[in-house]
Symmetry: C2
Subunit: 384 residues, 2 copies
Amino acid sequence: MGREGTLFFRVTGRDAATRARTGILETSHGEVATPAFMPVGTRGTVKALEPRDLRELGFELILSNAYHLFLRPGHAVIRKLGGLHRFMGWDRAILTDSGGFQVFSLADLCRIDESGVEFASHLDGTRFRLTPELCMEIQEALGSDLVMPLDDCPPYPAERSRVEESVGRTTRWAQRSLGASLSEGQHRFGIVQGGVHLDLRARSAEEIAALDFEGFAVGGVGVGEPFALGREAVACVSAILPGAAPRYVMGIGTPAQIVDLIGEGIDLFDCVLPTRNARNGTLFTSLGRINIKRNEFREDPGPLDPNCGCVACRRFSRAYLRHLYQCREILASRLNTIHNLAYFASVVVRAREAISRGEYARFRTLPEFSGEPDPKGCGNRVDS
Amino acid sequence: MGREGTLFFRVTGRDAATRARTGILETSHGEVATPAFMPVGTRGTVKALEPRDLRELGFELILSNAYHLFLRPGHAVIRKLGGLHRFMGWDRAILTDSGGFQVFSLADLCRIDESGVEFASHLDGTRFRLTPELCMEIQEALGSDLVMPLDDCPPYPAERSRVEESVGRTTRWAQRSLGASLSEGQHRFGIVQGGVHLDLRARSAEEIAALDFEGFAVGGVGVGEPFALGREAVACVSAILPGAAPRYVMGIGTPAQIVDLIGEGIDLFDCVLPTRNARNGTLFTSLGRINIKRNEFREDPGPLDPNCGCVACRRFSRAYLRHLYQCREILASRLNTIHNLAYFASVVVRAREAISRGEYARFRTLPEFSGEPDPKGCGNRVDS
């Protein structure tokens, strides 16, 4: 790695006072402006939305999950139907997570050894074995634009020896992943582990950066550790990874955390927060978080967020959104999801503008992002 | 009544061989071409859809429910927020059912006497009393275009004496409803009862037709009786009601039943079938009903209905729709609802065209509508 201006990723701007940068990912399914936030579409659908909604919101890249699609409907079915883009009706870029993290967090009786992970399906208990090679095969069948290898992601907290073991194994699995063949136009990322141990993070980052990946991800953050520790790990890794490749922090985070980590040179983010919280009635706005079920909104004729131009804010009142939520109406999930994603989209769009103007240091201290970030990472990256 | 060409309703065409007719309802929220099917939006939302979806599907009139909105969020709240159209973001016409039927079918400890109905809320057990006057007051507050009075709808089967009592009471309540004041532009319907007894139906139709209503509804069908009996009742009533006013059969039915009753001179229909069945994976198509969860669709790349132009059919495969349903994804409810409503919309649009061409007798015997109609009515009219 270390190519400046590869065909895949181009850095288009840098902030002088921080490590923030703007860039363009060139994929077979269009350009992706970075920093970017990816909505999570675990099972081949961003919950409650159609692909045209995501386009309307301006997203150029979404995340899906190889493990979940492997279990249902099966990657062979999706290959037969022309790949994941065609299957779900989305013609822009897709990153698929390998699903290793999900296996560890969802599957029962998960057993890990050097060859891979054996686990019982969280759906029906059927036993499967995921290997680095199979994870590549699944994602090759799906036709994902950005492909993630199987990694060994220990829980938090974990013994240092367990984290050390995971670093070595993650590197060996990364090497095996590189041996698998993908289709033209698919781009392979490496994943860095190392928990909250900065020396292990540094070792993992150096080992993975030495391999022939086109992008790099920081895994094992947002798994329960205090954000300050995860943040330190990300900053440490980001400084080691080659500047010419895109950097992705997996499963993070709140708007404040995203804005913070953009300042550390991170280009890509995904998180279930906007979509899952939407379904639970928690809405992110330019004025702070709102719990729409609160009685104070019962007769409130105003828009959810006066600074937002999304359909939910343009056409409906807080009183109506509260009513839908109280009645457990499906439309509540839909409108709340549209709004929360519109807000997350606006955060990265404004971050890009601030970087272009060289004003990122000021941007990231806006009161909007100054709320105490969640003490812990936002949890897992599967919106289920 | 008996005005030909009132400002409210205009008959624009008649089929020679059947009693089918086309017409236009003129409302303060736009024209409604009839025969029309109304999607059911019980709580101020047609489940899983936005108002813009309903417009895209061509609907000009939807149904909502005074009883449900009275309980939550309360008609005073909706009045304060500018009425139901504004509250739910729908600028075309709305018919509200009084909710009498729902009180009888949902509420516990429902007690009926001459003054009205006393019942316990199905939400929290709070005791309320609905009277003909209160039902008008609620709908006045909501600002519904078409307003239904409280009626006494006995279950099926019921003693003849109970049905006879309900006919008398429904007429007396209708008279009381006419005493309540509505806002300009609101149009009041009368409801005919009488169960499956044709003499009672005739008596009720004559009594209600003699009152100063702008439209007439047939209630007490689709409540569990064999369709053949409900159908006879509707035909009997339709022949008695004045031809210059719109006729509405409440809570019916399958496409075959709707097409059949259009032939008896019915102009308006509502039913939860397309929306509720959509959420249960049953899809109405030009080729018959499909249960999308069936294994045969697992790898089916074709559209749900090759003769349908809705978003679900244009952009997604049966395999994908099956996958969404199997995963209990919200998008399954949304796409299935869009399709089923598109199909019901196409049935009435094609019925109108057939009437205009004077070919309704042929249209109603198309193989598409020749399947055995459900032996029983489709059940209640609240999509919950």
